[in-house]
Point group: D2
Chain length 368, copies 4
Amino acid sequence: MPGNNFGVLFVVTAFGESHGPALGCIIDGCPSGIPLSIEDIRRELQRRRPGGGGAATSRAEADEPELLSGVFEGRTLGTPIAIIVRNTNQRSADYDGLKDIYRPGHADWTWEAKYGIRDHRGGGRSSGRETVSRVAAGAVAKQFLAGYGVTIRAWTSAIGGVQVIGSEDPAFSLDEAESNPLRVPHQESAEKIMSFIDKLRSQGDSVGGVVSCSVIGLPAGLGEPVFGKLDAQIASAMLSLGAAKGVEFGAGFEAARGTGSNQNDCPVPTDKPRLSSTVPSLRYQTNNAGGMLGGISTGMPLEFKVAFKPVPSISKPQQTTDRYGAFREVRIQGRHDVCIVPRAVPVVEAMTALVLADLLLLRRCDSM
Amino acid sequence: MPGNNFGVLFVVTAFGESHGPALGCIIDGCPSGIPLSIEDIRRELQRRRPGGGGAATSRAEADEPELLSGVFEGRTLGTPIAIIVRNTNQRSADYDGLKDIYRPGHADWTWEAKYGIRDHRGGGRSSGRETVSRVAAGAVAKQFLAGYGVTIRAWTSAIGGVQVIGSEDPAFSLDEAESNPLRVPHQESAEKIMSFIDKLRSQGDSVGGVVSCSVIGLPAGLGEPVFGKLDAQIASAMLSLGAAKGVEFGAGFEAARGTGSNQNDCPVPTDKPRLSSTVPSLRYQTNNAGGMLGGISTGMPLEFKVAFKPVPSISKPQQTTDRYGAFREVRIQGRHDVCIVPRAVPVVEAMTALVLADLLLLRRCDSM
Amino acid sequence: MPGNNFGVLFVVTAFGESHGPALGCIIDGCPSGIPLSIEDIRRELQRRRPGGGGAATSRAEADEPELLSGVFEGRTLGTPIAIIVRNTNQRSADYDGLKDIYRPGHADWTWEAKYGIRDHRGGGRSSGRETVSRVAAGAVAKQFLAGYGVTIRAWTSAIGGVQVIGSEDPAFSLDEAESNPLRVPHQESAEKIMSFIDKLRSQGDSVGGVVSCSVIGLPAGLGEPVFGKLDAQIASAMLSLGAAKGVEFGAGFEAARGTGSNQNDCPVPTDKPRLSSTVPSLRYQTNNAGGMLGGISTGMPLEFKVAFKPVPSISKPQQTTDRYGAFREVRIQGRHDVCIVPRAVPVVEAMTALVLADLLLLRRCDSM
Amino acid sequence: MPGNNFGVLFVVTAFGESHGPALGCIIDGCPSGIPLSIEDIRRELQRRRPGGGGAATSRAEADEPELLSGVFEGRTLGTPIAIIVRNTNQRSADYDGLKDIYRPGHADWTWEAKYGIRDHRGGGRSSGRETVSRVAAGAVAKQFLAGYGVTIRAWTSAIGGVQVIGSEDPAFSLDEAESNPLRVPHQESAEKIMSFIDKLRSQGDSVGGVVSCSVIGLPAGLGEPVFGKLDAQIASAMLSLGAAKGVEFGAGFEAARGTGSNQNDCPVPTDKPRLSSTVPSLRYQTNNAGGMLGGISTGMPLEFKVAFKPVPSISKPQQTTDRYGAFREVRIQGRHDVCIVPRAVPVVEAMTALVLADLLLLRRCDSM
């Protein structure tokens, strides 16, 4: 409840500092009987690790997960699932010079303003490394969702001002996304962005970008109005990510510029069986709403985008202030990403999986 | 927890259907000793009512609140504060023809898909009328925030494609915003938008827009990483609003197009007293982050924008489907807003107040 | 969360001071489709009202409930159910003399120590009158439980030192319990207790007692180990009642005096169908455990007892202290029960219903 | 929320099966700045280990805790504190013969009825071994409480029918309790009980008992009426323990036999400074209520007792049923306590510490 706890029924509690002994999580409320192996978790953690494309940090953590409870003979028990990942490649000394300095764009000072104390090494718990716990938990949620036929796919849809060409182009391919280090689902866009990133690296600068996410196979009826709507929960999950600065669903900010007559999604009969004697099945002609109406899933694809600001650690000189209240110039050395957007992709998927797992369980309690 | 409950320590539980006997809320966890009168609540409810500008619905509810508990001799008791608002001007018969029809862009079908049943009159609980409860609760939160010197101001910053001229223009005035029915803080922009809305009304159409919000006086240290970050909670609060489709903080989606060197907010010494022997006071040279770093408030203004889609109820003919799975053409009659954005302004403020009241209480537990 | 909120999925939020405008509750998470009328709530509230037996207070409240939301055409909507009960028969002036006095055995001072302020009239929110909200909510829970075939029966099993003769006696009859004002299921015991109470009344004294409760029809599998066990939740529910001082399950404190060989409940085969291919049905030869093992229901009757201390309001003179820190003698005048145990019976049932409704919903999420 | 999570602000999430790789917990919400070392945790875990007195199991676990996060340079960071304890001395083979048998008095079948699956080795998560997580978390809570001057002391007050001589006897000494394996604070009683236990061991039987607990130094004002009262929360914490069958506060069940005139605790002036200009300090002449009134602490010692049933694992032959629904005779072999009451003492203290830490934090939010 005080901040490291996510979900109502499928609940993740996360822990860990960047340079402490380990990170990890407990998943409580995962139903019994779900197939789960350490390999399912390892696979997702590998996707989160720095890629070979050079966009990312060179801190080379093994990120080897250990499963401490909740699984017996390959199936979940219904008891809490604890997962830990040891930190093995910390170079704490890299941070000695930053102990008394508040890095621009980082949360160094706000954590001290809040807690009066912080583990300065690698940003402590404000480090992007905390997403290890999210991805591990998300891997469990994905196993649960697999049983419902739900598939989550995220990708890089923009980096800096460069927009990735979208699904309207035949060369767009989500399968492609996972095979290039930028997670850009369009070869030509990927190449263009890669040279843009190379230029920024040589300048000691960094860049932001956008992750798009699409979920298919979701049944209608997910979401808990009025405060726990599907979009409210996804928004919360996304803005809880380190560098996230915005989220939009379906047409998003573009919808604010539209009219009712061009934005409304109109129901269309389907030949699927009725939901009940009083409720028909239907689908929507368009999906401007991004898969929900009134905060409840429609059965259409859930679609949203998340904006990430640039990595604040840059080697260009910056003005800042130190613990003693004095001006300082700082150049951030060490191993940092030029752009974390590609690595945010599996994290966006993980958080989405956690929201959906929770809502699928809550859905079981909707009616008598 | 199942959806009508918001907050951890300053907790609102809301209830009410559009055409049921009443709407309202219970606020639990409001500290004792806060001055609170029925007038404080009435004032905010009045701001939410349809304005005279013609942008809004003509359902003329008195929206007279009644305070049932939690206040004694003008001060809060620390016990739950219950507030109800009777529905008095329902015209349920307006909805008889819509009983078996799923309106485009509305949540009619998704509620039935979820619950198997709905109160079709006026949209039931999916009606914008449910925000009465939010505004009443927000009025209480504002009283609490007043004791901390926190001020929340929201306004209409765009309607349709028309962007309101911003604070860089000398004619921009937040005080102006409350005096015109569109809540546009710029006279010239307001006039332009009003004629745009008139045109849409004559066409039987509706339009979306953007609400901006700014909070000043917020201390540093608010927010509960990693899942309950300040931005995560505001995002959740905003996307829980009926027609909201996106939210962004500070530079928002623009930040995704920037670089570290132009987006980082650099700390600057201040002459305010130190927070403690080990932590100095400081401020930030810029506020691209919109008032938080690492999900914790910086003490700079909290700034964000919320995109609202157009009102789905339009009198233009639309295709849809009925309960029997058949195609139907529908024209929505009755009393509807062309643009709800101006009326969303006090609701955005109310939800912001609720988030901040909760975080201010949680902040009391940060350190020994 | 801060104290007036009960349950995880079937969640009650209660409000109201003894002499404020109204008391009531919101039930959030009640599934849709359950038959519910105002009569279902009124019936339970009537059981809570003072009986004619003279054991109880003579404050004659109508206790007329009003249903403000969540029900449409006789069925629950899945939306929050708000119920209010107006206070109409307050005699606030009765309490004027007690404004600055801390009554012995009451919570007058502890509420002031906590909140710095209190509504002294009738004890404010520490009054037994707050159980109106519990009983109203419990009535809704009972409707839900009826759909599962679960029946809850509580009765007075002791008053003062007088033990009610138990079910081993042929004259014991739970149906009898509801027809006498003491809710004693044994005619002879009832008469004996009634004369005991008459004597205490004439002495201006009061007396405690024990409520027993038995639940039949409960399926196996309810309870959320390790912290939300069935007994833990019932215990919490019972000790949240005003004068409750203890609770015991099955053999209870007697079990602490026993040995494994005489306390263990041994499983016995049944001819009911298997729960699954791997799990048989069974029952237990004895029920010393009171219907649960490891905090999970066994399918045997859930059985527990709750001890209530004497009503603290007595007209005998007592020593106490006032707001100014001075010694005072006090005789509590006004309308008070000699023994609230009979009126606690429907409240015990209501709280039990709330726990079980919540656990039945949580049970839906146990396995894939 | 689904069962392995305890507290609102000082929140423990526990995990671990008896014979899985490890047990442990995450404590979220522990304020920053509290001195905490691995030694503080180890010390409490040692108290929970089997003593030398022979009353207890001979499974000899090292119970060596590892601190994975949340502490930096000897102080808590305000971030989640993760603690794990490896299982190293499992003898899983001991349980092979019990895989398909439901042991009398154990939760074997109820867990299968609930989850359809269980880790049968050592009882899985229904094992008393799960209290390792509670004790580790409680050790952290005790560090927090130490800063408030709160001291918790529990002891064995009865075993079987043998009542320990109480504090009215000059030979009663709580310091003695920790120095004998039965945790009996009275030498003569301890000897008597020890020979009683020896006799039961030779008969292959087990026995129950009572733990008493007393907390001193607690300020007035703790507890969250009406559902989160101090006694309600302690009751919940206690009944969440494996073999607990009852709890009573102060005079407890005896109070139910009393009258108002002999049970009421009367306020007495003190010479301590006033709490505020409007609220005096006071104390109570007696403490029949056990340290709370209206569910809020009075500042008098918090006093309660917990009844534990006998250990269900006995080597005497018992009738039971197997997975195939057939009658079976079973004699439980392996390493089992004759009486777990002495080992429950530190667990009772740990759970008490968790409740009080949570309530002390909630208390910070009571008034403006």
